[in-house]
């Protein structure tokens, strides 16, 4: 009986391992792209949104006839999506699986702590034959921690350039609110992205814009009690505050500020917080907070994506909307580089896509043109949005002026 | 050989052992009797250092060993058995004896590796010897927990002897035995005492055993010694009879360590 159970389990394991490789054979030519991200744990909504948007983008391209291959025939895009649980090892496993399949490019991941090791196991520079790292292009939509793509030449990102966004944001604040002099910071200290953004972005950019940083408070990702931090903030009597924090603690700190009647004249938030999460958690307390965001349904294209994402059971926000742009760019590169999408050309096609991506100087974005930087990063157009009556409303479009 | 001077142990307000003076001479089989709860098991536990004494001292072969922990007591040559058998029931019979090869002669002379890791030939030979002695040679690979009650008792005794002790503390070894088994035990104890020269402190209820095998007896009640003398003297002793008659119907647990 026991032995039966064991053999059953191992049979399931083997079957499952084998089964994952097999996909239904398609009658027509297909080019495969592989999405992955976190669909478990507290960051589940990110993965769900990315998957929905990617799915919508793939269907959109296919409905227009698909992608033209190097031999002139048309291919349909086919996508898969895997969950990495925002766990480094599982992310590696997923990426290896993608690399072992005939997918030409990987889109993901959600978490920066997964992106770090993933980019680490990639070959660092394409011409270094001695480097045994993986050779598959990754195009990242969500993981936003600063400076990641330079880890490998196979890594590309379509995430907002925070340095640029906050530089202009602070300047804009300086110009439009001349009576503001001092700023107080807040940083979610144990999360790589928020930490990086405060120390390397907000703090320095605010000073560059001529503000005096009168101090900052720190808290942790899962903290729930902010009395001390807000008291520090209160003592510093800043004109406005800049909070580098994800929605959960952002809500906590905003509520505490209300309670202690700390009412700065202006609040600035982390770009990742310009999502539904913040509004779900504390729309009242967040009222008025200004956040630079690389997505808002302001153009026709953006509106369409928002609607399609909705139909797929996700929502388009600054992270997931990037997946749409990524799929479009990939399709475009596939055509321009003459990808063959045959069984034998997988490795060549990957290299072609990588080189094509590296060559790009600009790409089309949903709210404007995206500048590609040399190190695989992007500078995306962005807007300043603010929370108004439980929704994100566009406050200002720096590109328009 | 073993001297207890003013030995006391209080658990909260309960005086389990209270100012006990006992001297066990080399070569004796010394009986410790008393009704349930009179402090016999506690005394054994104090000698072995299972818990710290409240007051008084224990000395062994002229050296003070009060409060030395059980493994040190064993190193000094004091081995014991438990009132309710405590074998390593998941380990095999053989392993039970093997882990117990920590007596002076078998251990001290060896280097670290043979002591802990492989176990040298001497240890293995010694295990075989004890298997033979306990009559469990054919059950060597059985888990100790699967043995019959009497076999467990024999194994526990063999395990205590594995350390080649000078003094053996037996805590009610005859509990639950039938008359035949008691008789065997009687012979075995005599053999150990006479042939092996092991001094024995016997805590026991079964009077057939105690009165037959011991050289000298101390009787306890409420943690105090109420009488000491030869078996014959104790049998005549008024106080002992009263203690047993007065309390014989009561049940209770004796030692904290065995619960």
């Amino acid at each position: 009986m026991k032995k039966q159970t064991l053999s059953l389990l191992s049979a399931v394991a083997v079957a499952a391992l084998l089964g994952t490789g097999a996909t239904p054979a398609a009658a027509e030519r297909t080019a495969k792209i592989a999405g992955f991200g976190a669909k478990s744990g507290v960051v589940r909504s990110f993965g769900v949104n990315t998957e929905a948007v990617m799915q919508a983008a793939v269907e959109h391209i296919n409905s227009q006839g698909g992608v033209k291959l190097g031999d002139g025939s048309m291919a349909m895009l086919e996508m898969s999506f895997d969950d990495d649980r925002c766990n480094a090892e599982e992310g590696i496993s997923v990426l290896r699986k993608i690399a072992s399949s005939d997918a030409l490019v990987a889109v993901g991941p959600t978490c920066s702590n997964v992106a770090e090791p993933l980019f680490g196991i990639l070959q660092r520079s394409v011409d270094d034959a001695g480097d045994s790292g993986l050779r598959i292009p990754i195009f990242t939509d969500t993981a936003i921690k600063g400076g990641l793509a330079k880890i490998s030449e196979w890594a590309f990102r379509n995430v907002p350039n925070e340095t640029e966004m906050y530089r202009t944001l602070f300047l804009w604040v300086k110009e439009n609110y001349p009576d503001l002099q001092t700023v107080y910071g807040g940083v979610e200290e144990d999360f790589a992205h928020s930490r990086f953004t405060w120390y390397n972005v907000m703090d320095t950019r605010a000073q560059e814009a001529g503000f005096e940083v009168v101090g900052f408070s720190k808290w942790l990702l899962a903290d729930t009690n902010f009395t001390q931090q807000v008291r520090e903030m209160k003592k510093a009597k800043p004109d406005f505050v800049a909070l580098s924090s994800h929605p959960f603690t952002l809500c906590g700190i905003l509520k505490e500020m209300n309670r202690q009647r700390v009412r700065p004249k202006l609040m600035i938030g982390l770009t990742s917080s310009s999502s539904m999460e913040t509004l779900q958690g504390c729309s009242k307390a967040a009222e008025g907070i200004i956040i630079p965001s690389s997505f808002a349904p302001v153009t026709d294209a953006a509106k369409m994506v928002a609607k399609l994402a909705d139909e797929k059971g996700g929502s388009a926000d600054l992270h997931s909307a990037a997946a749409w742009e990524i799929v479009e760019v990939i399709a475009q590169v596939m055509e321009s580089e003459g990808v063959m999408a045959t069984e034998d050309s997988v490795q060549e096609d990957r290299r072609k896509i990588r080189d094509g991506l590296a060559k790009l100087e600009t790409t089309n974005g949903l709210i404007g043109t995206i500048m590609r930087e040399g190190d695989g990063e992007a500078t995306k157009p962005y807007l300043y949005v603010h929370a108004q009556d439980g929704e994100w409303a566009v406050l200002h479009d720096p590109g328009a002026s | 050989m073993l001297e207890l001077r003013g030995l006391s142990k209080h658990f909260g307000g309960v005086r389990a052992v209270d100012g006990l003076d006992v001297t066990v001479e080399r070569g004796q089989i010394f009986g410790l009797i008393g009704p349930n709860g009179s402090g016999k098991s506690t005394t054994v536990n104090l000698v072995c250092g299972v818990f710290p004494v409240t007051a008084g001292s224990v000395s062994f072969e002229g050296a003070e060993i009060t409060n030395s922990p059980p493994h040190v007591a064993l190193g000094n040559g004091i081995a014991r058995t438990f009132q309710n058998i405590r074998l390593f029931s998941e380990l095999t019979v053989w392993q039970n004896l093997w882990v117990a090869q920590n007596g002076q002669e078998s251990v001290r002379s060896q280097g670290f590796f043979s002591r802990w890791l492989s176990g040298n030939r001497g240890q293995r030979a010694s295990v075989e010897e004890q298997l033979e002695f306990s009559g469990l040679a054919d059950k060597r690979d059985e888990p100790a927990g699967s043995l019959a009650f009497g076999e467990q008792r024999r194994l526990e005794l063999a395990r205590a002897l594995a350390a080649r002790p000078k003094l053996l503390l037996l805590d009610e070894p005859a509990a639950g035995m039938n008359l035949e088994e008691v008789k065997q035990l009687d012979e075995r104890l005599r053999w150990l005492n006479e042939q092996q020269g092991i001094t024995i402190l016997l805590v026991e209820h079964v009077m057939e055993l105690v009165m037959g095998v011991t050289h000298r007896i101390a009787a306890l009640n409420f943690g105090r010694k109420i009488a000491e003398g030869s078996p014959a003297e104790i049998q005549q002793n008024q106080a002992v009879q009263e203690a047993y008659l007065g309390r014989s119907e009561e049940e209770g647990d004796e030692g904290g360590g065995s619960s």
């Binding site: 589940r44 909504s45 200290e189 942790l220 729930t224 001390q228 959960f248 906590g252 307390a285 | 904290g256």
Partner: protein
């Protein structure tokens, strides 16, 4: 008048400690749950904090369907968590032999992961607003301030404890529970159902946890699955510092942790706060293994 120690005034310290103690009430109440189950079964239920939060989530879920006043939500949370507590008992203790404590321990970890993921999937992991009472009240005396909602949470925790002590020491059910805790075999011989008592304990502990879960949600104003692990760890520490099995111990333990972590945060920084709390706990356990109100000998 301004005496400064390490750069902070006495008022700062007082304020810090009061904040910490008030917030520590939630740790205390989770600690009570751990201690209660440990006291009766001698086992650890690591899924406890997860059931507490699951209760709160359940009441949030009901609240999305029909608008609920805060107190009603708290009661629903408590009832639901009681139910989850029973579920935990069934899945992790009822059918696993009592001689396999490690199996139960690990099963409760599985349960924790299961409940957490269930919560994630019902909310997509997004933080959800939870109704609070007095959450915009701030009692102030000069520079000194006290959060109204935390004060309320604190009072409710005290009430829950008093209620629990009443149940344990003044009702027949409580007597049975204590009897089973101390002498399971004897209790069984006297005709008490050990399983019945055990499951009742899980339900009661769960219900108390449901209140704690609701209070945590209320004091933060948001529910998030992020809370499960920290609350589990802090509640466990509270129970252990106080002496596992001791209800007053868990209370004191919880409040102490609240006070200590806030003080360390003031003196060092938030990043080092937990490091010192852990070090303190480690030292404390090594040198006073029984806890503050511990009966170390009983549970060896």
């Amino acid at each position: 008048m301004e005496i400064e120690i390490f750069g902070w005034t006495l008022l700062d310290y007082f304020q810090t400690i009061v904040d910490g103690v008030l917030y520590g009430a939630t740790y205390a109440i989770i600690g009570i749950g751990f201690t209660l189950i440990f006291g009766v079964m001698d086992k650890l239920n690591l899924a406890y904090a997860a059931t507490a939060l699951a209760g709160a989530y359940f009441s949030w879920g009901v609240g999305t369907q029909i608008p609920l006043p805060a107190p009603v939500a708290y009661v629903i949370s408590s009832i639901a968590a009681g139910g989850f507590g029973y579920l935990v008992y069934l899945c992790n203790f009822r059918y696993i032999p009592s001689g396999a404590p490690l199996a139960s321990l690990l099963a409760t970890v599985g349960m924790l992961l299961f409940l957490e993921e269930l919560i994630v999937h019902s909310t997509q992991g997004m933080p959800q607003p939870y109704p609070a009472l007095f959450d915009d009240v701030m009692l102030e005396w000069g520079d000194f301030g006290m959060r109204g909602d935390l004060l309320f949470v604190f009072c409710l925790c005290v009430l829950a404890t008093v209620f629990l002590l009443y149940v344990l020491y003044r009702t027949k059910l409580g007597m049975a529970t204590r009897a089973v805790a101390q002498q399971p075999v004897a209790a069984q011989l006297c005709g008490m159902s050990v399983q019945g008592t055990n499951s009742t304990t899980f339900v009661i502990a769960g219900a108390i946890g449901g209140i704690a879960g609701a209070m945590i949600g209320a004091s933060v104003g948001i529910l998030s699955p992020l809370l499960t692990v920290p609350v589990t760890v802090k509640g466990l520490i509270a129970a252990v510092i106080g002496g596992l099995g001791s209800i007053p111990g868990a209370i004191v333990g919880g409040l102490l942790i609240g006070a200590f972590e806030n003080t360390f945060q003031l003196l060092r920084s938030v990043t080092e706060r937990d490091m010192y709390v852990m070090l303190l706990l480690f030292a404390f356990l090594a040198f006073r293994p029984g806890g503050i109100f511990g009966t170390a000998s009983r549970h060896e």
